[in-house]
Amino acid sequence: MKTKIFYLSALALITASLFTSCTEKAVISTPPVVVGSAVSDASPLSGSVKGTMLSGKTYTISGDITVNAGDTLLLQPGVTVKVGRGKTILVKGVFISLGTKTSPNYIGPDKSFTKTDAAGYSAAADSAYIGYWTGLNCESTCTLLDLKWTHIEYTGAKFGATFFPSGLSAGAGSFGIQFTNPNGDFIMEDSWMYGSIDDAVRISTGRIHIMRNTFEKCGATGGDCLNAKSGTVGDMAYNLFVGTATNGTKASNKGGVGPQTNVNMYNNTYISGGYRQKAPTGRGGSINYEEGAKGKAFNNLMVNCRTGVRIHNNPAADVINMSYGYNYTYGDSLRVMNNVYPVGASLTSGTTSVTVPQSTDIPAYTALLSNANFQQTYLYTIVGGICPNIVGVYDGSAYVKVGDPKFVGFTLPLTGALSSISAINSTLNFRLQSTSPAIGKGTADASKIAPLNAVQVTNKNFKPTEVTLPGVDMGCYQSNGTGNQH
């Protein structure tokens, strides 16, 4: 499939520019990880559940289930969990899903849907936005949510009449995953999320490691893929976001819990984000920092997103303590290229930002680099906690359809609406061709960008399998084979 095509093309094009030596890893078998006793698959599950779901088995959740505080539910590789309509997985303890590349896990509806991923398919009729179940809801007592090579699909149902997380009520909408413990760890690696109503992942607070995942069709009429609030510290890297309603990655320090939100976003690829906002609220379409959040954003690749990196002015991000650059933008419309640095309310977009154009960005908006109204000293002026000097209107027409990043399977310029791409259908592949102008243009300079490596899990079975360092190829796929493995 896609992966095979890539390896074939990678083999065919042996490049001498690869400095990193690719040593084959020895694979030595380890016994399957077990906690507690095995969960029975003999009858559908409901109520409190703990123990181990065994490889190869299929479990059905017919009622709402709770992993109690102190308990652990572990999914061995190759487990399928089918969740009934509107049902909730409430995690007060620990939830671990140890899928592998060869035996991924699946958590989703107990029935199958026909995926309608053809470009331009009507969002109103798309099964991705049905909101079938309420996702993984972690309470503040959940110390670890660990997802590896796991599919999570069709989330976003409203909570049922008698079962909902603390602080919510019957009928409230759900996220795909919610994590709420500032002293807990949330690991998500090499996993897939497909279809949600609101945010796919809401990190209310917590230490995070979110790397090499793929997100498609997240948010029906609003919602981000990864939405981090106060007390979130960690990395969002090498993720692929296709057709997100609003942002791919967002960080805010709203909420007053835990340490200041600090998220590094690097080597992510964002395709056609930001076009399903019911009332375009002025929010972004790719990367967003706001309300006291800080972090670093480097080596990201944005194609046809509604806005580029958005450093919000009000409520202002912690502008003086953040940095960004080496980000690559491609746009087929003037609208996109006029919002590489999101502009103010004088345009109908209503987006406001104080994103400072960087000379390392591709394309480099040379005219802006020398314009006093686009300098850090001007844009980062703080009055009453707000940055009142916002990015003003500029002309990006010279950059429209310029700098095709040359994807393996995505022909640009795009024919059709920019919003028509919302999932990876059989023809799409967002790996870079060897001739891509995005290759080698990023930075691996640890003084500029390095992972925060915030999670504190030490158990070898559960800790992150790999903290992938920033790579010089922009976006989530590296020509040396590292990065996103999907």
Binding site: R85, G86, A124, G131, S140, T141, G156, A157, K158, G160, A161, T162, F163, S166, G167, L168, S169, A170, G171, A172, G173, T180, N181, N183, G184, S204, T205, A220, T221, N253, K254, G255, G256, V257, G258, P259, Q260, K278, A279, P280, T281, G282, R283, E291, G292, H312, N314, P315, A316, D318, I320, G344, A345, T348, G350, V383, G384, G385, I386, P388
Partner: protein, 923 residues
Amino acid sequence: MILGKTNHFKVTILLFLLVFLTQINATTIKGRILDSKTQEPLTGAIIIDKLNDKINDEARLDGSYFIKKIKPGKHLFSIQYVGYIKQEKEVYVSGNKDVVLDILMEPRKNALAEVQIVGKLDKESSDYARSSEKRADNLLNIISARSIQLSPDITVANVLQRVSGVTVQKTSNSGEGQYAIIRGMDKRYNYTLINGIKIPSPNDKNRYVPMDIFPAELISRIEVIKALTPDMEGDAIGGVMNLVMKDAPDKLLISINGSVGYNKMFFDRPFYQFNTSAINPQAPSERGIPNASPSDFPIQDLIFKGIKPFPNLNGGISFGDRFFDKRLGFVLAISNQNTYSGSDAFVTVPRAQPNPGTLPAFETKENRTYSTLQNRLGIHNKLDFQIDRNNKISLYNAYFELNKYDSRHVDQTSLSTGVGNVDVYDRSQTQLEKIYNSTLQGNHNLTNTIKLDWSAVFSKAWANNPDEAELHTASSDFGNTLILNGISHKWRNNSDQDLAAYLNVFWNPAFLPKNAEIKAGGMFRHKTRHNFYTEYSLDPSPNPQTFSTIENATVLFSGYNANAGSPVNQNDYDVTEDLMAGYGQIKFKILTKLNVLVGVRVEHDLQNYTTPMPATFPGRAGIIPYMDILPSLHLKYELSENQNLRLSYFSSISRPGFFEIIPYNIKGETFDEKGNPNLKEAKAANVDLRYELFPRASEQILVGAFYKNIVDPIEYSLVREAGPSALQLKPQNFGTATNYGVELVFNKYFGNFGVSANYTYTKSSITTYKKTYGRSNPADPTSQLVTDSVLRTRPMQGQADHIGNLSLLYKNQKIGLDCQFSLVYTGQYISQVSGWDGLDFWSMPNTTIDFSFEQRLSKKFNLSIFGKARNLLNSAAITRILKPNDYYLPSNIQLPQQDSPNSIVVQKEQYGQNFLLGFRYLF
């Protein structure tokens, strides 16, 4: 029918001119008509010249009378006053010489003493009010029916603001007073009585009663009791409002009044009306539709039409008489008020989290337009029967209803994310509130020294908010194109029922001095409370959908179970409360001038709540007991016949609201909100000192001071519960609060003119945690942005430092004119406590001026015309955050309505002037 402001003034000026002209004269006979014993002026006593047999004058407020242009020669004057022996005086008037003649009247003591239906004192007069204040064992302020009738106010809430130390919280949709704050103590610290019986509240969460439900004209007098005696329920720290309803009169009395009025606001803008007949009284789930469909929700209540409203119509009728040798008394009074009011408001909504440095930050700015139709109905009826000279029984029934139909239009503009985004909310709200009370009461003289009274009470309050519907549309291009965002429908209703019994025994044993009295008694009340809540949200389909009109909007239930409403939620709850109380007190006089009242009260309260939450929900149900022992001591030292010095101490409590103790956990607008089953009752020690001087009846000078020490006051504050979780707004007991102040009351009459003034200074302080948000090291701009907390001392919510009232009265009995000009000043107070340091909302000092008059048209038919003009200044109610105003700087993002670099205007409301003109007819 509609009188403008200018017309009113013309009428008034004309009337004043008339008055001054008639007072120019040459030969006169003048003097004062007084009670022979007490020297109290007998206002309203008539003096008739027998020679022409017509009333020549009536005694004024200070008892004076005045007969001009009298012919020289012999005159025979007849002087009459209800309850006094008629006198005749022969006077010889010679030439141009003025005659001064004071007349002392003898009360008709024995006239009706046999059946003890005294009642000859006009209990609705101001004189009676003053003398009651003077005689009372404890501290109270009284407003008489006559004062109410003459005042510009039509609801009890608005009357209350005339009482010293009372401020009234206004509703934002009409500007009408609603809740009373007594001596800076918020509404939760006060309770309401009808004829001395506590009544339940239609409020869905709390105990306090909205005072705007009571039409003022049914009230005989309003007592604000500021010091509790042991025979009173102990859960008031600020004070108690007792509404004494009209008694059966001594003879046939029929009165009718009717008036029309208008709010000037609706000359300037339309009143927005919706079709109230479309409102479904029950939610689909209550009607047996477990899974609703969009067609179950009518759209008529979301169609708003701008109209010129009908004039406001008020009317009242009262009938009373005595039968069977005056042993059976009956009174029935009905009052109905139909009022169109409104408000135009500017509001900014603060963001959940301030900017770093705990600087104010705003989410949106809003313009709100309210149009409210209020229909207020009050019916009261009393039957009393004197069985024999020792036994009396009475049955009292009261029913009050306040129906509010409120439409609200909000234009909301984003101030942060998404500049240019406009959200529009159109809401129709129907609020139906009812209170019913039925009290059967007996008074018995068992022996010469033992008396008892008992009451059996059934009382119930309801509130019903059927189908609160809201249409939400939005625009991302400054309002040029609107899209449909959703429609919601909520049903809420609650009821609160009391069954209560009271027993009081009075004993004047022979071994105690003559005036001494031992009183003991108890009470039991069983309360059942029920709350129902459900909410339905309809989403656009297709989504997104351009919005044109509500008729063209298409919606559906999206999401699983959405069509079931919210069958399980924490706003659905049931409470029962059993209160048992007993007390004993003794009253005696020592050292000839010192009155002592001392006693103790014990209250045991058991609250039992249940919610429909699942068994897994912590605190799904609970039983909470409270037990309090409340001693008190009241001393009154009679410095002289007309001077008292009072000192009192009492302890009292304030129990948590019904909803507060339920461990609800709701995602609020800014913070998560959490209930607190561990909430204790607030306990207060109260000390009062007051000097009273009553120069004459109707006149008084009171100077007082009070001090309150409140342990465990209940305040809402942010907490971070043990363990990792978010900030939560939770009612909590907060250490110790203090509240002290000074009160001055002054009433004085000069002939036809009167001045009534009061002033209260209050200072309270409470120390709570407030959150801060900023750099962990303010000197280091690279340090972490952290949320922390600090202890801060502030005044209690609702406590204004200065409160003043001034009324100027003109009363000419002869031409039958009463005029009153009233001014209320309320100093600044915290209207909304913020969880963040320094971001409290402060309501700014406010002055309102009202004017009223009543002119007798015909003596023969007892017909008079009256007018009330309210809120003449139409002064804006302004709320501010007292922080430097960065939004005033030209360099910053601008907020509208700002006028100062030193504080931020966050709310500004205007309610318009109200005019009322009517007729009163007494048979």
